[in-house]
Every structure is written in structure tokens, then in C-alpha cells.
Symmetry: C2
Subunit: 408 residues, 2 copies
């Protein structure tokens, strides 16, 4: 019998009605003779309610106790979902993270899964039961409750699928798959039938919010086929797997973009080894995450050093640079917080030349000026003025014919 791990997020289980709907979907899978392990999040709004209680008591709640508190959110959902399944005549058993023996390290509020003992889950499956596991949580070696941090329920689902050697890990959400780009920007955006782990990682890190990066990494590492699909609509969704040599591969899978960028440039710094560390050290010390980094070639023994940060960190980053400017013997610090990043992603570009030049030419034809460029093996990112975002996405979507279904 095929085994599937299904994960339902907070909006999918946000009300009693929605929980009953999820139970119906699980029942349909059982009728297709599938073994089902379900991972659920807290009902939407519940985690915020608990956080508000905690913050009324401590501005920075004690991490161990915060995990004890927040983990109750998923515990409520697993019980209610099992009741809904039982009510429909489907035997089910719930497990908290601790009961499912999801062993993590001791890093409260951002723990990592170390091991899962699936003995009890397998026994229940053999008895024909649906197993419902609380996402986002585990226990450390001491038996203390831990939580996995943002997107933790996706990680729980993938880890369980890996431990159980499931046929697929299905992430049910409020969109029906991964798209070539955001349909709100390009209405011709098309749902992808499949995408590789590497592409999905690039898409996720570039602002596509469908899946959490950690879950995709985990799935890639353990080769767990991931499928993103809708809780509320029918459809096959998008399958995320390793590249399959036998099938025709799209040149470009999608266009990701990120609106909330800002760039900073330190102009005229001496072109000496160690200068990048001297600039980025104080930035890291100020807890600012850096995204793209570009250093131009040196002219007359000085160079310009540019990097991008989240727009919220722009003012702070500018402050830091101005403080260290003289120490760096830099000429000037400049910046711009009205920029965006647009990226082409596709494993196909590995074996096809001319993608970058086609991209730059298409943008130039529309009069869009490129401010920065950065590339990886399967991605080309450009930084543009904010006002060009929508035009650039639509131009590239058309240029690379992303609205055309693959004829594989």
C-alpha cells in the first residue's frame, strides 16, 4: 500500500468546518487504499493568541516555556482532527511531537530534528489507522518540549516522510501549486507540473512563499518527493523532485522577485585583501542579513563594494557604514532603498548558453536599466529600480515563453 504524508497548514484547519473538510480529504485518500500520516499546524490565529498572552508577561518570553506554550496550538488541532475522522468512521490516533518521538536538539524555538522513532506510528498504520502528528514540535533528550521555528510543520512532514520512507510528502496549502511567477503580477503565470529541488530552493530564497527553505532542503537531502497542492481545490499540484534525465526539462522554470530590497555602496575603498570582511563584519555584528554582494573591478587601486539588505535594515546599515567609513579609508557611502530583485531560475540554463544575454536584451528593449547582476549555476538575478518590477517580470515571462505548457 502506498504511504503518503499529508501536511495541512493553519488556514487549512482554521475552523471546525475546515477541519471536517480536511477529514473528508483524508477519507478520500483512504478509499484510494493509501496509508496516510497527517501533519497539522495550529489553527490560524491560535499561535498569535498564545504569543500575545506570553508577551503580556515577558517582553522576551523564556524560550523553554514559550515552546511549552506554543506547542499546545498543534496539540489542539491533532485532537480535533482525530475526532472528525472518528466521527466519519475512520479510526485515527493523534501524537504530539514528543509522543511521535521526534527527537530534536535543545535549541528552544528553533530546534532541529535529530531522529524520529516511528515504531508506534507504523503499528497504528498496520492496524489501518490514520496517524495525526502535531507539526512544528519535538522533544530534546531531556524530554523538554521544543519547537522548530518558522515553517516547522513543513519540516516535520518532510522528516516523517523520510523516516517512514513515504512515497510522497504532500503539502496542502491555499495555493494549488508552484507557479512560473506570481499570478498577481503576471496573470499569464502558469502552474508548473514539476520543478527540481534546486530550482524550488532558489525560488523560495528569492521570495516565493509557497514552501519553507528548510523543508525543501530536508526533502532534497533525503530525496523525499514533495508535492504542493491545494486544500480547497482539486488538482495534481506541483511535484518537486530531482532532475529526471529522461524527461524534457524546461529551460527556465520560473521568475522570482523580491520587493523589499535596498542596496548600499561603499565607494573608493582601497583594493586590498580583507576589505570585504572589514565592511561586512560590522554589518553582521549589527544582526543585519546581507543578500547579494557585488564588487566591481578595481580602478586606480580603489574599488566600489555593493551589497543588498532587507529594506527594513536599510537605515541601520547606512548608519553602520557611515561609522566605519573613515576606518575603511572609503571615499563615500551611498545607497538606494527603492530597488527590487528579479531572478530567472532554471536548471536548463546549465546546458544552454545565451540565457543571460537574452534576459539583458529583453529588459533593455523595454528601457529597463539594470543596476546590479549576480548569477549562480541555475539562477540569474538583476537589481532594478522599483518602478520596473511588474514590467520586467511580464517581459521576461513572455520572452522565455513561460505561459506555454511543456510539450513533453
Amino acid at each position: 500500500m502506498p504511504l503518503f504524508v499529508q501536511k495541512y497548514g493553519g488556514t487549512s484547519v482554521g475552523t471546525v468546518d475546515k477541519i471536517q473538510h480536511v477529514a473528508t480529504k483524508i477519507l478520500q485518500a483512504k478509499r484510494r487504499n493509501e496509508d496516510i500520516v497527517v501533519v497539522v499546524s495550529a489553527m490560524s490565529g491560535e499561535t498569535d493568541r498564545l504569543l500575545t498572552l506570553a508577551r503580556q508577561i515577558q517582553t522576551h518570553p523564556n524560550p523553554r516555556e514559550l515552546d511549552v506554550l506554543l506547542s499546545t496550538g498543534e496539540q489542539v488541532t491533532i485532537a480535533l482532527l482525530c475526532m472528525a475522522l472518528e466521527e466519519k468512521g475512520c479510526p485515527a490516533s493523534s501524537y504530539t511531537g514528543g509522543q511521535a518521538r521526534i527527537l530534536t536538539d535543545a535549541a528552544h524555538t528553533k530546534a532541529r530534528i535529530v531522529d524520529i522513532d516511528t515504531t508506534r506510528i507504523r503499528r497504528d498504520l498496520e492496524q489501518g489507522k490514520v496517524v495525526v502528528v502535531a507539526g512544528f514540535q519535538g522533544v530534546n533528550e531531556e524530554g523538554d518540549i521544543t519547537t522548530l521555528g518558522r515553517g516547522g510543520s513543513d519540516t516535520t512532514a518532510v522528516a516523517l516522510a523520510a523516516a517512514l520512507k513515504a512515497d510522497e510528502c504532500q503539502i496542502y496549502t491555499d495555493v494549488d501549486g508552484v507557479y512560473t511567477t506570481d499570478p498577481r503580477v503576471e496573470p499569464k503565470a502558469r502552474r508548473l507540473n514539476r520543478i527540481t529541488f534546486e530550482e524550488m530552493l532558489e525560488m523560495a530564497s528569492l521570495g516565493s512563499k509557497v514552501l519553507q527553505i528548510r523543508a525543501v532542503e530536508f526533502a532534497g537531502k533525503y530525496n523525499v518527493p514533495l508535492r504542493v497542492l491545494s486544500t480547497f481545490d482539486e488538482g495534481k499540484g506541483t511535484l518537486i523532485t530531482y532532475e529526471d534525465e529522461t524527461m524534457e526539462q524546461a529551460l527556465i522554470s520560473g521568475i522570482a522577485f523580491n520587493r523589499d530590497e535596498a542596496k548600499l555602496t561603499v565607494e573608493g575603498v582601497p583594493d586590498r585583501p580583507g576589505i570585504a570582511a572589514k565592511i561586512l563584519g560590522p554589518i553582521a555584528d549589527a544582526n543585519i542579513e546581507v543578500d547579494m554582494i557585488v564588487q566591481n573591478v578595481a580602478e586606480d587601486a580603489t574599488t566600489d563594494f555593493t551589497f543588498t539588505v532587507h529594506r527594513n535594515d536599510y537605515a541601520k546599515a547606512l548608519d553602520v557604514l557611515n561609522q566605519v567609513k573613515s576606518e575603511l579609508s572609503a571615499r563615500k557611502v551611498t545607497g538606494d532603498d527603492k530597488i527590487v530583485k528579479v531572478s530567472l531560475v532554471g536548471v536548463g540554463m546549465r546546458s544552454h548558453a545565451g540565457i543571460a544575454s537574452k534576459m539583458f536584451r529583453s529588459l533593455a528593449d523595454e528601457g529597463i536599466n539594470i543596476r546590479m547582476i549576480s548569477t549562480s549555476e541555475i539562477k540569474i538575478s538583476v537589481v532594478l529600480d522599483e518602478k520596473y518590477l511588474e514590467l520586467a517580470v511580464r517581459t521576461l515571462h513572455e520572452a522565455f515563453e513561460l505561459d506555454q505548457p511543456l510539450t513533453a
Copy 2:
């Protein structure tokens, strides 16, 4: 260092403010150099909120899943209370029932405590921490979450006090102790400084709602001194212990009463062995609990058999008896649902004659007719017409001088 187990009920931890108040009280105890283990209930209203969710899904929620659901209520409280303690600079650690290794049998929603492994709690206490344990819950041998049923948090507190050999188990509540009778009926009612386990059991079973019977039984069995005191007022409360031979013992400790009684009489049944079972068997089969039972002496080979039930069960009980009347060869079935029970309780009556006659005389002097009488070693109960309840309680309170403090 003396060790105290403190238990706070739902109304004592009903809001963030109240939780902070409880933290302050615990801190005061720590400053008196006491080791403190705290047991808490769910915030008031939380258990009802969860039950409502469950019943929207299942009229009779699956018991295993109901326990998973309801146990989150106390889990929220332990985390918030530990945060409040930490915020006041007092190190604290929370434990769910499972983490505190409160092992129970497998009877979901009404489990009984089998064993407690106190290793981790003792280690935390040695490190100077306050230990906060979720009341009302445990785990069975399989690791499934169980709950202890009504009043379960009191039972958790007493069981922990017994396992830790605590000096005292302190039940904090919204009244400041055990009274000679309900102050709403007799304003002269006086708080008792002490009362014996046996008296407390009688008081509780007779309608005094301060403590749950199971917790008192447990405390008596393991000889754990229990103290009832107020969360919101200062004061020593009422200590519940075994009778102390060296101290002067009050003749009567208190007057308990129960408004919600009804009585039924089967008249003229043949006075033969087994007749009581024939009457009460069908009553038990109908799930009706019987309280007092009185059988008068036989006249002309027949007898009258009378018993009391909860007023809610009156109509059902009357139905049952009318159905079996002919089988019993009974003459008539009569009943009255406008009666109350008033009881004198006191270990002193063991060694003092004349208590009953004084009680009956006092009532007769006020023109109160006694409808039934039942006695135990430390209790005399009478059934009266409902309208006499307040008069009877005040009359007996004065006759036995319960408003006078003991001059021990």
C-alpha cells in the same frame, strides 16, 4: 528546608494579572525559605472553550482525543506562570503531567494515578527552582495523555505532596477556608482552624464544595496534611489532618446541607430478604445514584422502603418504580421532590452521647418536622421540607454554638 505543594485553581489563574499575582505569592513563600512545587488548573473558561470545539465535531468526543485536547489547558497555564516567575527573577521549570511522570491507568477522562517518578522535580528543587506542574493530567503506560476527571488538579497536588513527602499540600481557592456552614445561609458561620479528614469527607460528600472528595481521600490515605486557603486574601485557612489526641476537639465541626434532593417511597412491600436489591437494582440499571436509604420496621409482614436521589433524577426514578411496582407486590409508590438534607458533622460525637436528641429537640422547638433520619459514626443527617432549610441550619448552628471559637 520545608517543602510545600501549592495548588491554584482556574479562577486563581484566570487572567494574566491573576497569574502574576500567584507568582508574587510563590515568591513570598520562596523568601520564607520554602521549597515550592506548584500545581495549576487551566485558566477559567479555557476547558469550556475546548469542550465546545470538540462537541461541534463529536457529540460524544473520542475519550483519548478529548484528553489530548483538554490537557492543553493546563499546559498553557504552567508556561505562563513560569514566565511570570522568571520575570520576577525566580527560576522556574514547567512540567506537563507526562513530563512529571505522573503515571495513571488507561481510563481516559477519569484516570487514576498509579505512580509518580519525582527524580526530575527533586533535581530542580535542589537547584533552587520552583517546579510548576500541570494539574488534572498524566500519561498511561503507552505514553498516551490521560486526564483525571472532575477536581483532578486537587488530586494531582495531593499525589505530588505524598510522593515528595511534602510538609503540607496547600489548596488555594476563592474562599479562605472551610466554614462551620455556608455563610450565605448563616452569616455567623465561622472559619475552622482545623478539621479532620473524616469530617472533611462527610462535609464534601454532603455538598460542601471546597474540596473534591477524591483529593481528601487521597490525602487521608497517605496522611498528607491539607490546607485550604485563599488566593486573594491573607490568612492561615483551614488545616485538614488526622485527629490529634492532645488537642481539644470540637464536638461538632460543621453543618452541611444539600438542596437538590428528592425522596421516593415504596409502600407496603413484603418484608422478605432481597427486597432492597429488587427495588434498587432497576434504579442502578437506569444510572440513577442513590443517596440515603431508610427501611422502616415491618408492620403486618410488609414494610416501607424509602431512598433519596438527586432532584434531576426524580421523574426517572418514579417511572422506574412504577414499572416494577406490581412485580414487587408493593401497595403504592410515593415521592417528594421538595426536600433537603441537613447534616451535623463532627468526630466529637463519637464520644459524646445526646447529640442526636439535642439536634432533634432543637428542630422540634422551631416546629420543623423531620421526614427521614440517617446516621453514621460522625454524622447525623435529617431530611426536611425544603422551606425549612435556612431555619434549620441557623437553629443548629446556634444550638451547637458553632459561632463560638474553640478556646483550646
